[in-house]
């Protein structure tokens, strides 16, 4: 791996900027502490809000009495759900493809009638300081009638299970992901299963009949949190004229605006969301939590209100990803050809519908060409925090199950696990079980690179050591995106775009603009606009930004290029068709005397017809799917069950790596989140549904001391659907790690781990090292 920043090294594919490693534009502010994040807002006269949360996992709210809190010195206002307009949750109200059920969204922000998880907001207070607001929380008297909680999907699906939503119906398609309620005149009993659907291809019975080897296993994973280091925070002002301004860190200022508008019952145009720097999201900052609360507290007091979560509130009140139950059966011929696969995925959505079981089902077997298959999926509500997206939502757990089975099949067939995957790997033209046909993808190239990597053939000696490999697929996302850019008279370009930058995307999109214009990356100055200053841009999510906003920047740059060519032509009094831009120089195609550098022409704009602004709004199709393969060496301490990662290598197809350092960074970060998920992270609930480990102390994310260097190799099979061949890169690296580590633990110990996390206690149990009876589940 090359590590040092060497600007101006020519990139691959003949690019001048794309593929190089410039210093990111927002870097200086972030290494000096100047960058402003969600909690860094200080406004004159600002009050501090805190949210009162349910101590019970399931209870009816009998009454809320805030009189004692309001009488406390320094307290300015208290709100409850009574302040929230209550939108309908009937499925008929959902627009086509709508991803939000307004009622569920609202009720998750402030509980109505019932609380559905420990940590569910029931009231909020604002006061002159955070300490006073905290004191006031204990002075709000809430009477609950405690109900029995349902804490996992298997229990929730039983006939006699307590029902969370009395009117929730079971949809039979993946398209009602946010869930829907029955009509008022429909008297059927509510279900905890909010959707149940099936994908099928070929003839399953025939496929298994053709198989010589069949492996069938069950897997269980626990809810895990995204674990971003920045807790959620939102500051709002609700002006007397009804205009609302919100400062927050999120993965999408427009999503925050539109969700807040839904919950507050005001037009989106009445809200301006100003995006601050975001201290990590991984999918978890795509939902509103505090924004409407801060806005309503401001409305009540006439002053700006900031509400910030504690770490415990982040764990208990924001979305982890689903816990899951999965069953996978796969068959292959003795020559190693996969003939059939059958899978059932049951994902826990938390208190409201909307687990990522659909993408999980779609990605689970994505790496393989399987003629006969059936994937069945359930979305189930339980008394736990409503899940939010988490990096390749749904796919990592699914891949853990499928890639463990694949490893076992290869072993039974006596085949190298990479050879087995090469034989069955998806390529251009392969139809997935879930329907779509792959365009040009780089799975086989990634597998070959893995097999050729020195790690894969390096000797690994010693007892209780093992090497595992696994792969993964994530389809990547896109969406609407906007960019405008103005040419400054000093020859630089000011770029305004709409994608909050979590991991270096300002650089990645500015570099694509610079490439078009023949400028150094440093001469494009990117910033991120608020909802009033830039066109709609969908979330920073789905590994979409380098693809879609990169494309918007590419198009905006083309717009600048076209206008500057016209300007040069006008100055020279020639036809624009005779002028070209190459390496940052405008040239007449046949008269070498006629040339302007970009900088020279930029300096002439104001006196030759006025400034030039380029703009683009895109909603590009053609995302290229992402594939990865990871190799890991572990050592297991048989006396304690603890697994140490000795060596780790991540490989993936990035299409074209725009800024390779940040692609590597995504690969390393995703792999390490996966290591945490594999080994220690989990939501640990007590019998009453209270999370016992809601702190960084006991949630146990990996520290620097738990890890080796994470080696990376970027494979580049350009995506034909993007001007520079870009594929999304951010999510796929969290898909393979859990299976790779499980497969390595098997090699080290001879035991197949079928539950996550593969914590020391779980491994000890699997090894049969502890005396006495195992505690359940």
């Amino acid at each position: 791996m090359t590590i040092t920043a060497e600007p101006r090294v020519e990139g691959k594919g003949g690019y001048k900027v794309v593929g190089t490693r410039p210093i990111r534009h927002d870097g200086l502010e972030k290494v000096t502490g100047q960058a402003r994040y969600g909690a860094d807002v200080h406004l004159p006269g600002m009050l501090h809000g805190k949210v009162l949360r349910s101590p019970h996992a399931h209870a009816r709210i009998v009454s809320i009495d805030a009189r004692r809190a309001l009488a406390h010195p320094g307290v300015e206002a208290v709100i409850t759900s009574a302040e929230f307009p209550q939108p309908s949750g009937k499925v008929a109200d959902l627009g086509e493809g709508a991803m939000m059920n307004p009622k569920f969204l609202s009720n998750n922000t402030m509980a109505v009638g019932k609380v559905l998880y420990k940590g569910h907001p029931v009231a909020a207070v604002c006061a002159v300081s955070q300490h006073v607001a905290e004191e006031a929380l204990s002075l709000i008297d809430v009477e609950y009638e405690v109900l029995p909680p349902v804490l996992n999907a298997m229990d929730a699906m039983k006939d006699d299970a307590p029902v969370l939503h009395e009117r929730l119906f079971t949809a039979d398609t993946p398209f009602v992901r946010p869930g829907g309620l029955r009509d008022d005149d429909d008297s059927a009993k509510g279900s905890n299963v909010s959707s149940h659907f099936v994908f099928e291809i070929g003839d399953l019975d025939k496929g298994f009949a053709e198989a010589d080897v069949v492996v069938e296993r069950e897997y269980r994973t626990k809810a895990v949190h995204q674990g971003y280091i920045e807790p959620h925070a939102a500051t709002a002002t609700w002006n007397r004229d009804g205009r609302i301004t919100i400062w927050c860190s999120s993965q999408g200022q427009f999503a925050m605006r539109d969700q807040t508008a839904l919950v507050l019952g005001v037009p989106a145009s009445q809200i301006k969301v100003i995006p601050l720097e975001i201290g990590g999201g991984f999918g978890g900052k795509t939902l509103i939590y505090l924004e409407p609360v801060a806005a309503l507290l401001s409305k009540k007091t006439g002053r700006p209100v900031k509400v910030a979560m504690s770490r415990q509130e982040v764990f208990e009140g924001t979305g982890p990803t689903s816990g899951s139950f999965m069953k996978v059966k796969m068959g292959a011929t003795k020559e190693g050809r996969l003939t059939a696969a059958k899978a059932t995925l049951i994902y826990e959505a938390g208190a409201y519908p909307g687990s990522p079981v659909n993408p999980g089902a779609q990605c689970m077997l994505g790496p393989y060409d399987i003629p006969n298959g059936r994937v069945e999926a359930y979305d189930v509500v339980i008394n736990a925090p409503k899940v939010a997206a988490y990096r390749a939502p749904g796919a990592p757990a699914a891949a853990y199950a499928a890639e463990s089975v694949v490893d076992e099949l290869a072993e039974k067939l006596n085949m190298d696990p990479i050879d087995f995957r090469l034989l069955n790997g998806a390529k251009e033209g392969t139809r997935r079980i879930t329907g779509p046909v792959f365009p040009r993808i780089g799975y086989l190239e990634t597998l070959r690179a893995t097999k050729d990597h020195p790690h894969y053939s390096a000797p690994l000696e010693g007892a209780y050591r093992g090497r595992g490999v696994a792969s993964g697929f994530w389809f990547n996302g896109s969406g609407p995106s906007s960019a405008t850019a103005s040419v400054d008279h000093d020859g630089t370009v000011s770029l305004l775009e709409g994608s909050p930058d979590i991991g270096g995307t300002r650089a990645a999109v500015a570099m694509q603009m610079a490439e078009v214009l023949g400028l150094p990356a440093e001469d494009v100055h990117p910033s991120i606009g608020d909802t009033d200053s830039i066109g709609f841009t969908s979330n920073t999510g789905g590994s979409s930004v380098a693809f879609k906003t990169g494309w918007a920047c590419y198009e905006a740059a083309q717009d600048i290029k076209r206008q500057m060519i016209e300007r040069a032509a006008a100055i020279w009094d020639v036809s624009p068709g005779d002028v070209d831009l190459a390496d940052g120089v405008f040239l007449h195609k046949s008269d070498p005397e006629l040339r302007f550098t970009f900088k020279e022409l930029a300096g002439l704009l104001l006196e030759t017809g006025g400034p030039i602004v380029g703009r683009a709004a895109v909603d590009p199709r053609g995302v290229g799917g992402a594939f990865a393969a990871h190799v890991v060496d572990v050592e297991v301490d048989p006396e304690t069950g603890k697994t140490q990662i000795l060596r780790y290598t991540a490989l993936q197809d990035a299409g074209t790596a725009v800024h390779p350092s940040y692609v590597e960074g995504q690969m390393q970060g995703g792999a390490v989140q996966g290591i945490g998920w594999a080994l220690n992270e989990e939501y640990f609930f007590d019998d009453d549904g209270r999370m016992s480990n809601a702190s960084f102390l006991d949630y146990r994310m990996p520290t620097s001391l738990d890890l080796p260097m994470i080696d990376t190799e970027i494979v580049e099979v350009p995506n034909p659907g993007h001007p520079y061949g870009v594929r999304g890169t951010g999510e796929i690296p969290i898909v393979p790690p859990m299976a790779a580590i499980a497969n390595a633990i098997y090699k080290a110990t001879g035991v197949r781990m079928t539950q996550l996390p593969m914590s020391p206690g779980a491994v000890l149990d699997a090894l049969g090292r502890c005396e006495g009876k195992q505690d359940g589940g």
């Binding site: 006396e639 146990r700 001391l705």
Partner: protein, 273 residues
């Protein structure tokens, strides 16, 4: 402090008490910063006198002290594994002991090293062996107005060594799932054990002084068989609970593993001492 009785607490490193106060674990009226009290800040260590460690001395002063490094490596083990560097810049042995957590890492090491608590109070001073200091989770033997001022360690006996280790799922920044501290003094033949002390963390309501486990080693050879016997005896006195950090059976098992490992290293140190 005497004036406020149980509503007053001493502030040393603050790494536990500030978190507990924020979490509403208890309410107090007065928090007294004791870091500038000279007796509580003393660190004196010599071959003749042993070690006197002020209750407010942070971990880093312990592990950076060359005399302690030479005389009490078992103490350095503990000082370097509490929290991360930031915590070690503040956290104190005295605070960890007063906190009386079942999983307090320093406590088994203190017991193994035969440390005593120097306590001052309105009624004068008293000395208490560390193994008698913790009464229940979060409850220690200090009376109203009493203060733990320092810990006193006897000089290490000839041919003695000590070690503390714990099991945590990560490699840092965790609370012990189980922990074991041991000290071993060898006979002049450097083969047989003259005496041994074993103490355990996180396997009972307080840190446990496993007196029988240590006692049965007297006169035995310092070998795997002996350590195995001591480990079994340690397991027998471990009475852990199951919680999010580990199950009871896992903790009992780990008690055996850790006791053996602690004894091996303590004995190895004793052989070289």
């Amino acid at each position: 402090m005497a004036e406020k009785g149980p509503k007053a607490r001493a502030l040393a490193g603050g790494t536990d008490i500030l978190v507990q106060l924020r979490g509403g674990r208890f309410r107090i009226d007065r928090l007294v910063d004791v870091k500038d009290v000279p007796e509580m800040n003393q660190l004196s260590c010599s071959d003749e006198e042993g070690l006197t460690l002020g209750a407010a001395v942070p971990c880093y002063r312990v592990y950076e002290d060359p005399v302690i490094q030479r005389m009490y490596p078992g103490l350095v083990d503990v000082a370097t594994l509490i929290g991360g560097i930031q915590i070690q810049g503040r956290a104190t042995f005295g605070g960890n002991l007063c906190n009386a957590s079942p999983s307090g890492d320093t406590i088994p090491a203190l017991i193994a090293l035969e440390a005593s608590c120097l306590i001052e109070g309105p009624g004068g001073g008293r000395v208490l062996p560390v193994e008698e200091f913790c009464l229940a989770p979060g409850k220690n033997a200090l009376g109203d107005g009493e203060l733990l001022t320092a810990l006193r360690f006897p000089p290490p006996a000839p041919r003695s060594g000590a070690h503390y280790l714990r099991f945590i799922p990560r490699n840092e920044m965790d609370i012990a799932v189980a922990g074991a501290g041991a000290s071993v003094t060898l006979e002049e033949d450097r083969l047989h054990i003259k005496s041994a002390r074993i103490a355990l963390a996180a396997v009972g309501p307080t840190p446990i002084y496993a007196i029988e486990a240590g006692g049965l080693l007297t006169g035995r050879e310092a070998n795997e068989e002996s350590f195995e016997a001591a480990a079994e005896a340690a397991k027998a006195v471990a009475k852990p609970i199951s919680d999010m950090r580990g199950t009871a059976r896992q903790r009992v098992h780990l008690t055996g593993v850790l006791t053996k490992r602690a004894l091996r290293k303590a004995a190895a140190r004793a052989k070289e001492a």
